[in-house]
């Protein structure tokens, strides 16, 4: 949409959707200004039915603001939002078929768990019997029926979290919005709830839009992820696409670990580009959008996608002699830092054998080794 001015923007993925023009939620060129600051900056997203869609990005990148615009608490400065193919415009929150699980849970302190969960049904004017039945069902869904009579402050964080979930799900909304719902929980509980949430989403068949700044959480749970930075959606894709084919330096850096080698593109041929470092070495990797011969570019290669060998042929692509700087044994793998001239590179070697001899776990600092990786395992990114 605004790709002309900012080539790194994700393109709307209308084309690759089986049901083009039928989306759970659409954001078209949405902007939200707070004074001079663009909290959300020309964001376009198409979220499919029954999708687990995550907004992932560092704090302050505009995730909450995006969610609040979908919920109806904020109006976009420009652009449009549609829910279930209906334009929202000035539709107030209480007339939108979405429910929110707030970051702070926002459970009503003066109501019991049961009253909290029944609230939405009462507002819809659903009769007493059905309200009672559906409230009970919702509490069973989150495995809390025995605590129906408690007040929120008599419950643990994890339990409150589930009440918030039940209170939203009981309304069977078209879309459920979750703003860092696990942020306040400790690590172990968070991992459990991740699995539980994902299972729950399958069970109820509702579109989830999930805000998080935890990349692992987003990768494990999502069907698709939008990576946000400074109000922009930089890339939208499946966890696999995001991790294996980041479309810009920010995404490659933000998701997982990677090495960046800056240089100049000397050749682009087919799907591959050759990059020359200032120190003279050349590397070949997959070409990505906007990479042109003669321009500056960055080679991005992940630490687990490289090998260190005792001997190798110096004529092979992406193969150079290096010096081992340090090694760290971390159980599942050994993390080696090497020097290629002045460039430091992280290489993770999987510990696939099980011995107690430290010498079996690779090189020692100061030793020479050969670094090698396949061109298809590296990416040449513009800029």
């Amino acid at each position: 949409m605004d790709g002309a001015s900012t080539p790194l923007h994700a393109k709307p993925d209308v084309e690759d959707s089986a049901l083009a023009n039928d989306f759970a939620v659409e954001l078209r060129d949405v902007v939200k200004l707070y004074g001079e600051v663009a909290a959300v900056d020309h964001v376009t997203m198409f979220i499919r039915h029954n999708e687990f869609f995550s907004l992932l990005g560092p704090s302050g990148c505009g995730k909450t603001t995006s969610l609040r615009m979908i919920a109806g608490f904020e109006r976009p400065t420009s652009g449009v939002i549609a829910i279930d193919n209906k334009l929202m415009g000035a539709t107030p929150p209480f007339r939108r078929d979405v429910n929110t699980v707030f970051q702070s849970y926002a459970l009503f302190p003066h109501m019991t768990v049961e009253q909290n969960v029944a609230f939405g049904l009462q507002m819809k004017g659903i009769n007493k019997d059905e309200t009672k039945r559906r409230t009970q069902e919702a509490l069973e869904l989150v495995r809390l029926p025995q605590l129906a009579g408690r007040y929120p402050k008599q419950m643990s964080g994890g339990q409150q979290q589930r009440v918030a979930l039940a209170r939203a799900l009981v309304n069977r909304p078209k879309v459920l919005l979750l703003d860092e719902p696990l942020g306040a929980l400790d690590l172990k509980l968070r991992k459990e709830m991740q699995i539980e949430l994902k299972t729950l989403q399958h069970q109820v068949g509702i579109t989830f839009i999930y805000v998080t700044h935890d990349q692992e959480e987003a990768l494990t749970m999502s069907d698709r992820i939008a990576i946000m930075s400074r109000g922009k959606a930089l890339q939208i894709g499946s966890p696999l696409e995001i991790y294996e084919r980041p479309n810009c330096r920010f995404v490659a850096d933000f998701i997982g670990e990677t090495n960046f080698l800056d240089g100049k593109v000397i050749e682009v041929r087919g799907d591959f580009a050759t990059l020359e470092l200032p120190s003279g070495q050349t590397f070949v990797g997959r070409v990505s959008e906007g990479v042109r011969a003669g321009a500056h570019a960055t080679l991005s290669v992940r630490p687990e996608k490289m090998q260190l060998l005792e001997n190798a042929s110096s004529t092979a692509a992406n193969t150079y002699q290096v010096t081992v700087f340090s090694i760290a044994y971390v159980g599942s793998d050994t993390r080696v830092i090497i020097n290629l001239g002045a460039q430091r590179i992280d290489v993770w070697e999987q510990n696939s054998s099980s011995t107690l001899n430290p010498d079996d776990y690779f090189f020692k600092p100061g030793e020479n080794a050969w670094l090698t990786f396949k061109p298809e395992n590296a990416l040449v990114l513009a800029g």
Partner: protein, 287 residues
């Protein structure tokens, strides 16, 4: 060892409590006791309390004349509380919603009248509402009315005077509650399908009920026994129980009867306050 520590703790607690306790005994309990004793006495020709002790004063207080005055006072005070609440809630809400740096200034503005003598303020209000006062002059000048409206010496004038005087006592506790109110709760209610009205009634109001209760008591209790406002705004034509008490201790020179009425007033107000708290709290639980 343990005993020594416990002894010191006890001394500490005593030390902390003493000033407050002293204050309560000297300025509250003792005068109350005096009034209580006097209320059972008779009076001599000069009005001073003398034995014998009897229930005569209380019997006299249950005369329909005084009962009606009691009811009228309670009614005016109830109206005062309701009107004050209706005015104060939006004001307190506005202040609580203002940017942080503005809030203290606005609260300051609410409190400024405290620094002027209450009597002077009531006289000023009376002056404004007089037949030839600024309000009538203005309305006549604009041609809205031909003859001046007589606003003073009516129950409404007393009501206006009371509301004016009590407003800060309602605004401050309401503000304290509203400032603590978490707006995510309001949004959660809307998110679950409640329009503004229902989000207010079902979530915001119950959650700010402590402020509503505190403010109502702070306004209601002084209103029932109010004297100066009734005297000035009522122009001697409106009678409330506070005026009766004042006259018994003053011109009528009947301290025993004044004491009996004072004590009855206290009992009535306490009961009213308890009922109000009970109802208010019950409502909060039911919501």
């Amino acid at each position: 060892m343990m005993n020594a520590i416990r002894e010191r703790k006890r001394l500490q607690i005593f030390g902390l409590m003493f000033p407050g306790a002293f204050w309560l005994v000297v300025f509250f309990a003792l005068p109350l006791l005096v009034i209580f004793v006097i209320s059972f006495m008779a009076r001599d020709e000069l009005g001073s309390p003398v034995p014998p002790f009897s229930l005569d004063n209380y019997q006299q207080a249950f005369d329909s004349l005084y009962l009606n005055l009691f009811l009228f006072s309670l009614w005016i005070s109830l109206l005062t509380t309701v009107v004050t609440l209706l005015i104060s809630f939006p004001v307190a809400l506005y202040i609580a919603r203002s940017p942080k740096r503005w809030r203290n200034i606005l609260i300051f503005l609410v409190m400024i009248p405290f620094w002027t003598n209450f009597l002077v303020r009531t006289y000023a209000l009376q002056f404004l509402m007089r037949a030839n006062g600024p309000i009538n002059t203005l309305l006549q000048g604009l041609g809205v009315i031909q003859e001046p409206i007589s606003m003073l010496s009516t129950p409404v004038a007393v009501l206006i005077g009371l509301v004016y005087g009590e407003l800060p006592f309602m605004i401050l506790p309401l503000y304290a509650s509203l400032e603590k109110f978490d707006w995510a709760m309001f949004e959660a209610a809307q998110d679950l399908g409640a329009d503004m009205r229902r989000a207010f009634l079902r979530v915001m109001l119950p959650m700010t009920m402590p402020g509503v209760l505190a403010g109502s008591i702070l306004v209601f209790v002084p209103s029932v026994g109010s004297y100066i406002t009734v005297e000035l705004m009522g122009g001697g034509k409106i009678n409330m129980i506070g005026r009766v008490i004042a006259s018994q201790f003053g011109v009528a020179s009947n301290w025993p009867f004044g004491s009996a009425i004072s004590l009855l007033l206290m009992v009535v107000v306490t009961i009213a306050a308890l009922v109000y708290f009970r109802v208010g709290r019950g409502e909060r639980m039911a919501l």
